[in-house]
Symmetry: C2
Subunit: 354 residues, 2 copies
């Protein structure tokens, strides 16, 4: 169920939503948000011709609520509110809401239509597009889920103006990843953009380019049999950093973990695929100055390696990375030995001044 989907880049979100919904002959439309987007964004959606008081489902915010319990509460709410197979769910929020809402919709009565309206940069560039839905389970991220694309995605930068700096940077890390996947020019454009005093129109242009990188890849390999694994650049190490921090009750934003993961995996790329030093150093420099560093010691390596081994790409417990030969040239399914991963973590710590 991954096919072509409509992605709209617009600042008139409600008009775009109503035009998506108008063509479909739906029986009812439900909205899913979290307590933050309910307060900040939903009043806007009350203007939609398809909005009905009582059809809004609210969940608790934060990745710690991307659980089977929250999922069950959404299923129950859809049931109680009389949703049918011909209903649609509009997910309004960050990645937690679009991932969880997408999975709830993908599985309610074996699948109802859903539309994603990301309200964070990370959600727009990463979670809302591409059909990966899911929840965390037993402490593992996105362990349970389905591939199912939103029928439409509506992207606007107007929601980003009030985002904390940390949220913007978190999303920008995924854009840097797309830049590295796309080529040296796109990558350099991203290094040159001044996110601190972000021009929202400039950002929308970069975002459009960035989402296109992802869509081109997903279209060729929706279920991640091969090429799509390139989108995991930075994520094998990144998820390990994220799980590591979570285990210590000091959660870090996903994008920060990815930023550090990009550096760690650029080191592996240098060791294994001879990635140009200039790319590695420019990346480490940018990440260190914008995201700081995740402080790990060599005593933490065993735990980090354990997380990397559990990565979904992993085949029977080896380390599986997507690595960069150069910007725009990625090689997937690289089996890397433990010694190399440990050496890369050493070099990562040097580069990040730990």
């Amino acid at each position: 169920m991954v096919g072509k989907q409509d992605v709209f880049f617009t600042n008139d979100v409600v008009a775009a939503l109503d035009s998506c919904l108008a063509e479909t002959g739906l029986s009812a439309v439900f909205f899913l948000c979290d307590e933050n987007t309910e307060r900040l964004v939903m009043p806007e959606f009350a203007k939609s011709a398809f909005y009905k008081a009582g059809n809004c489902i609210t969940v608790l915010p934060g990745d710690e609520h991307k659980t089977v319990e929250t999922l069950m509460s959404v299923w129950t709410a859809l049931q109680d509110k009389g949703a049918t197979r011909h209903s649609a769910l509009v997910n309004v929020g960050g990645g937690v809401v679009t991932d969880l809402g997408g999975f709830a919709a993908a599985t309610f009565k074996r699948g109802i239509r859903f539309i994603n309206v990301p309200t964070t940069l990370l959600g727009a560039v990463d979670a809302a597009v591409g059909g990966k839905t899911g929840i965390n389970f037993n402490g593992y991220k996105n362990e349970i889920g389905a591939f199912r694309e939103a029928s439409s995605v509506i992207i606007s930068t107007r929601f980003f103006k009030t985002l904390p700096d940390m949220e913007l940077k978190s999303g920008y890390a995924e854009m840097l990843k797309h830049g590295l996947l796309s080529g040296i020019e796109a990558y350099n454009r991203l290094l040159d953009f001044d996110l601190a005093c972000a021009d929202m129109d400039g950002l929308l242009l970069l975002l459009k380019e960035s989402v296109e990188v992802k869509r081109r890849i997903v279209e060729k390999d929706p279920e991640e049999k091969g090429l799509r694994k390139s989108l995991n650049l930075g994520h094998t190490a990144g998820h390990a950093f994220e799980s590591f921090a979570l285990r210590r009750n000091r959660p870090v934003p996903h994008g920060y973990a990815v930023a550090w993961g990009l550096v760690a995996e650029a080191v592996v790329s240098k060791l294994r695929e001879n990635l140009d030093s200039a790319v590695l150093y420019s990346l480490a420099d940018y990440i260190y100055s914008h995201y700081g560093a995740m402080a790990v010691t060599c005593d933490d390596y065993d735990e980090l390696l354990g997380y990397m081994r559990h990565d979904k790409k992993s085949i029977s417990g080896e380390f599986n990375f997507s690595l960069l030969r150069k910007p725009g040239d990625v090689v997937v399914d690289c089996a890397v030995d433990e010694e190399t991963v440990r050496a890369a973590l050493d070099i990562y710590r040097d580069l990040m001044h730990i």
Copy 2:
């Protein structure tokens, strides 16, 4: 994710399984069964080259355990036993095991491969083939699930020899449905077959014909946008009977509910689509003498109508039926008014001597 799947009709189940698994380069194979199939059937599977002690997951038997709690126990077991994206799950059992195991596999790490080995006639003719997976939720049957086909289905009648008479008849009701969908000759062959002293080779031939009817329909419409709804013949009323009985803690076998549902919907077909009386009477006669009758009074109509309204095919609370014009000619998405449904229930009660 519904595509062509391999269906094997064989009595050498382990050889068929091993040949399915051999081609795939899987990291590990897990088996799902319930406590009954664990005892009666799994010793056979221990002969498989892919069987490993400790990789067998056992759930409690019965539709009352087709729940989110059981689903979570299967996810957790897969996690604990180290399943990866490259693992496969072999579901050995009736419809509960193949529905629940299929859904567990469809959602674990966003989808791993699974193989169904139905051990009941109902499972073979209905649940194992066609990609409908799922669980019951909050008292509604198959409320949560996904469309995802088993990569292979291995069908053998050797497991049926020890089935209670009631189980065989339950599956046979779905075969009667496929006969009605196929045409008058296929339907008559089924009325003529002597299930009481079932010749298992004869049954395997009828079963193959029956599964083919379903596969032809599913292939044309995997996600039930139109044609596939014809497979719901008997099920709108049947599910209502089933829910009705369950609510009274007197559960009836699914196939029995479908058998009675086929009669009730044949009456609606008579009223709405002018189905030939000979077909209606031959069906009612066969069902009454083999399945008895579900005793409902006119005081129960409101509750039954409520269940029918909640049917997954329903659009905004009307009654939606798949109806027969004649054997082999079905019309889907028939909106039927309440008065007709009530009249049909009256006639059903007459035909069933209630």
